[in-house]
Structures are given as structure tokens and as C-alpha cells.
């Protein structure tokens, strides 16, 4: 180790840059959260002060609960995200297994075909997707969103999972074959458990964009009964734009679940990105 790497001035400089940026990154979230628990007066008087006994108020959250169906929105977001992730993982893993395990005519071509969708955003086809959903009667159902997100997530899922499945030992699978296991059993019982970390990475990658998407809920499922949390908070805030307590609380309501998920999955997410899954 040389001197430059140990130089205390460098270390202080490094920490000050990181602290500065951490403050920039967290400040807006912090301001929204503390002000969502304050009275209207306190929000404007002392926007940067923490809520105390005098300024504490949950009036904003009361408005949010009385006026908006946030539990319904949350439930819709949950259903859409979990169902889409389930289909992405199941179908993606199956296709990845076929591509990585078997040699057949058109294998490479099929891989390229599925990989096209990694670079081409599905939004380009929105006009025809909307038309199709209208014709099939799926507009304003959660199925429309689940199908779209499944299609959107599959290309990258297949790509990442087949990379990992190539590393599963052939001996293990052949041992299974000698024992008379069917190809399906080999996939579900032997291979899937071994690629579980890769599946988790794919799940976490897809979770955030699906949960946060505004475009497809706005276009395919804007009805009150099918609004997702993202769209629901967007519409709610648009209606209550002058009620600062309600707006701040609605933002707080939208932040909480994501933060909880992030705290649970952050390690997985960061490991997924840094393990080079996107290379």
C-alpha cells in the first residue's frame, strides 16, 4: 500500500463528497416525510423543523384516508406486481432452461428474438396495445397490466437466467436423467432451486419499474377500481393540489411501502446490480 491511498486528507475529502451527496439524495424525502406530520401553519412557518408536540398533526393523513381509496390502490399495485413477477420468473426460467439446456434448430435465433426486447421499449407499441386491450375487453382490468409487464420483463429475465443456467452442472442433470426423472422434474426440482439467487435478482430488477410505472396504468387501467398506487397518488395530488397537508401525506403514503420494500431487498438489489447481471 502506498502513501496516496492512506492519506488522511484524501479520506476526509472522500467522506465529505459522499456525505454531501447523501444529503442531496435524502433531503427531499426527509422534507416530505417530516412535513406530512405537521399542521398547515407549521408547514409554511418552519418547513425544515421536525414536528414537535405543538406542530404535530395527522390531518393530512386523515384527508388521504377519507378521500382516497389508498388501500385499494395499494392492493392493486401489490396484485399487479406480484402476479407479473410470478409470470416473468416462471415463463422466463422455463424459456431460459430450454435455451441453455437443449440444442435444437433455431436455438440462437430464438435467443436473439427474445433479446430484442431488452433494448426496444414496449411503450413504442402502446397504440396497438391499447387497441388490442379494447378489442379483447381487458381495458380497465388488472390483467391488462399484468400481461404488459410480463411481456416487458421477459427479455431481460430470459437473458440473465440463461446465463446462470449454463453454469448448473451437467453431471447433476444427467444423474437425474439416469434416475428416470422427467425433463420437467429436472427443471423444477434440480435446476430452479440452484438458480434461486439469479431469480431473486431478476425479481428485484423488475419490481421497481413495475411498481412505479405511470404510463400503462394511465392508459390501460385508469378506472377507479383498477388504479395502482402510483396512478392513484398522481390523481389524488392533482385534485388536492391546494391542500398541502393532503398532498404531503399522499406523497408520504406513496413513499412508505417503497421504502419498506427497499429496506428488505436493498442488499439483494445492490448485489444483483454489482454482480454484473446487466453486463
Amino acid at each position: 500500500m502506498n502513501k496516496a491511498r492512506r492519506n488522511p486528507a484524501n479520506i476526509i475529502a472522500a467522506h465529505s463528497i459522499l456525505i454531501l451527496y447523501t444529503v442531496i439524495a435524502l433531503f427531499p424525502v426527509f422534507v416530505i416525510l417530516i412535513n406530512s406530520f405537521k399542521t398547515r401553519r407549521a408547514i409554511f412557518r418552519e418547513p425544515l423543523a421536525l414536528p414537535d408536540a405543538e406542530s404535530f398533526s395527522t390531518v393530512g393523513y386523515e384527508t388521504v384516508f377519507n378521500q382516497g381509496d389508498f388501500f385499494g390502490y395499494f392492493q392493486n399495485s401489490m396484485i399487479v406486481t406480484v402476479a407479473s413477477l410470478f409470470f416473468i420468473l416462471l415463463f422466463g426460467a422455463m424459456a431460459a432452461f430450454a435455451l441453455s439446456e437443449y440444442r435444437f434448430k433455431g436455438n440462437t435465433l430464438m435467443g436473439l428474438y427474445l433479446a430484442l426486447g431488452i433494448m426496444i421499449p414496449i411503450r413504442i407499441g402502446t397504440v396497438a396495445i391499447l387497441e388490442m386491450m379494447v378489442n379483447t375487453g381487458l381495458v380497465n382490468t388488472l390483467w391488462a397490466l399484468i400481461l404488459v409487464y410480463t411481456a416487458q420483463g421477459l427479455p431481460l429475465a430470459v437473458f440473465i437466467l440463461s446465463e446462470f443456467m449454463r453454469q448448473v452442472s451437467d453431471d447433476l442433470k444427467n444423474a437425474g436423467r439416469i434416475d428416470g426423472l422427467s425433463e420437467y422434474t429436472i427443471f423444477f426440482r434440480l435446476v430452479l432451486p440452484l438458480v434461486r439467487p439469479a431469480m431473486a435478482t431478476v425479481a428485484v430488477f423488475n419490481m421497481i419499474p413495475i411498481w412505479n410505472d405511470l404510463w400503462f396504468p394511465l392508459i390501460l387501467a385508469p378506472a377507479e377500481a383498477t388504479k395502482t398506487l402510483t396512478l392513484g397518488s398522481q390523481v389524488f395530488i392533482g385534485q388536492f393540489v391546494t391542500d398541502w397537508n393532503a398532498v404531503l401525506s399522499a406523497l408520504g403514503m406513496a413513499i412508505f411501502p417503497v421504502m419498506v420494500l427497499y429496506v428488505i431487498f436493498s442488499r439483494q438489489l445492490i448485489r444483483g446490480i454489482t454482480s454484473g447481471a446487466v453486463k
Binding site: 491511498r5 459522499l18 410480463t150 411481456a151 406513496a254 417503497v258 454489482t274
Partner: protein
């Protein structure tokens, strides 16, 4: 040797993914390109060839709006390339320093904005920059810069740049993480070999690490490009479908949304919307091809 039987299980494994992907992604994509060649006359769909594109590029009513959105989109992308990626690289370079304490903590905190939805990000910044609430003017007052405060999101000249910077704030975590991963994969021996030759500190970064992470920078650039050219959510959340003030923050995504879905008094026009979508498709395709054939193949990759 007998002919092997058809292996049905391969078909079973592939079918669901291929069907969903083809039905929901590929067919609508080509259908949208096809719809761009049609128009509605007397409630029936008629083939009009390239007329929609002639309108889009030739009719000043349309072409001005299109060029405005396209230009804004390029500016939006440029800000990301010039601000987001250098900051991401800087943060990653610091974080990858061996034996830096609290590295995991910083990493987790800096990534927080990336997981928030555009709605939260758009409104949170709108409130903070709002002259009514006064957080931004108050803070600038505290450091004696209050004369420089402007309602940035409300001015035609600054709204787009402000939104681009908000988007940078939101997404800086992604280049940071990818570069961080690339830096960690550089073997210690290479850096030590450099040290023996007297290359340390900043010189080691510029002369050894930077050339080695160029492929990752390439990937980040193309991800940024594709992401920016189908961006929509942040502008819609912060400025609405009209992308105000006076369309100064209009980008291709909002322009396409207004055109095909309609807004307020304007009726939606799926065919012109498809024409805009086709133009976006062409732009993204050109960008991806430039990357794949012009940049990626020329970049030298090192195997460790």
C-alpha cells in the same frame, strides 16, 4: 440409428414466454408501425401510405411541435450524459476505494431516489422549488444567494433543464452502481503493477481504471439514451400532459401521449400517435445500432 422423437418438452418450456412476448410486445410493435400508414376517413380505416409522416414532418402545425419535442429530448439526454454519468463515475470511484468506511451505507442511501416513483419525485421537487412554500428560496437566503432564486419550473427558459436535473438526481444511482461493479472487478495486481511504475491516485484512475471501465460507460450511455427517448412519467407528473410552460418541457413521450390519447378538448388520433411512435422507434433503433456496431465492437475488452 433411429431418428430422435420430437422433444415436446422443449416446446412446452418455450411456448409461454414466446407467446406472451410475441402477442403483447412484438405484434403490437409492428402493428403500431403499420397503423402509422393508415388514417380514419368517415369512420373507416383507410390506407394512406406515408401521408401521416408527410403531415408530421411537413405541416408546420405538426412539425414545429415535433421538432420542439425532439430538440427538448436531445437536451434532456445531453444533460444526463454531462451531469448524471460524470457524477455517477465520481461517486463510484470514491466508493470503490479499498477500506472506505460506511461504503455500504452511502451506497444504499444514494440509491434511494432511484426506487421512488416519478410521481413522488416530480411532486416532491415541485413543492421544494415552489416559491409559495419557500424551502428553496429560504435555503438560498440562508447562504446569501436569495437574489438568484427563480421559480425555475415555471419559466420557459429553465423548466426543461430543471426537470432534467431532477431526473439526474433520481437516476444517478444506476451509473454509480454499474461503474462501481466494474471498478471492483479490476484485479488488484494491475493496480499494484501501476504503483510499481509510480502511477497512483488520480493518475491511476485516469490511466488504468478509466480505460478498463469504458465498456461499462458505453452500456450506461445506451441505457440512458433509450431511457430518455421514451421518458414520459416525470414530465407528466410535474408539468402535466401539456408539458408547460408553453410546451417548453415537451419531449417525445408527452407529445405522443397527447396525440394518441387526446387531452382536454383535443381528440386522440391513434394514427398520428403511431406515426410519432414510429419516429421514436427509428430514433431508438439508430441509437442502439450506433452503439452496437459503431462503439461496442471498437471498444477493447480486457479479460482478467
Amino acid at each position: 440409428m433411429r431418428k430422435p422423437p420430437i422433444r415436446w418438452h422443449i416446446l412446452v418450456f418455450l411456448a409461454p414466454a414466446v407467446l406472451v412476448y410475441t402477442a403483447i410486445m412484438i405484434i403490437p410493435l409492428f402493428n403500431t408501425l403499420r397503423l402509422a400508414l393508415f388514417d380514419e376517413v368517415d369512420r373507416t380505416r383507410v390506407f394512406v401510405g406515408l401521408d401521416n409522416f408527410r403531415t408530421l414532418f411537413g405541416d408546420p402545425l405538426w412539425s414545429d411541435a415535433f421538432l420542439n419535442a425532439l430538440g427538448n429530448n436531445f437536451w434532456f439526454f445531453l444533460i444526463h450524459m454531462l451531469v448524471q454519468n460524470p457524477i455517477g463515475i465520481l461517486l463510484a470511484a470514491i466508493l470503490s476505494h479499498p477500506r472506505l468506511r460506511f461504503a455500504a451505507l452511502y451506497r444504499t442511501a444514494i440509491f434511494v431516489p432511484t426506487i421512488l416513483s416519478f410521481v413522488i419525485v416530480g411532486f416532491a421537487w415541485k413543492l421544494i422549488l415552489s416559491p409559495i412554500w419557500g424551502i428553496a428560496p429560504g435555503m438560498m437566503d440562508a447562504v446569501g444567494l436569495d437574489d438568484y432564486f427563480l421559480p425555475w419550473l415555471g419559466l420557459e427558459g429553465t423548466a426543461l433543464t430543471t426537470l432534467a436535473l431532477i431526473s439526474v438526481w433520481q437516476f444517478v444511482g444506476i451509473p454509480m452502481m454499474l461503474i462501481y461493479a466494474a471498478l471492483l472487478s479490476i484485479p488488484e495486481e494491475i493496480l499494484e503493477a501501476g504503483e510499481c511504475d509510480g502511477i497512483t491516485g488520480a493518475a491511476a484512475f485516469w490511466k488504468i481504471k478509466l480505460p478498463l471501465i469504458l465498456p461499462s460507460i458505453g452500456i450506461i450511455s445506451i441505457l440512458t439514451f433509450v431511457g430518455n427517448f421514451n421518458a414520459f412519467d416525470l414530465i407528466y407528473a410535474a408539468q402535466g400532459a401539456l408539458a408547460g410552460p408553453d410546451f417548453s418541457t415537451d419531449i417525445l413521450g408527452t407529445f405522443m401521449y397527447r396525440t394518441f390519447f387526446g387531452f382536454q378538448l383535443q381528440l386522440g388520433d391513434p394514427h398520428m400517435g403511431s406515426a410519432i411512435a414510429s419516429a421514436m422507434f427509428a430514433i431508438i433503433l439508430i441509437g442502439v445500432c450506433i452503439y452496437l456496431f459503431g462503439i461496442q465492437t471498437r471498444m477493447r475488452r480486457y479479460q482478467f
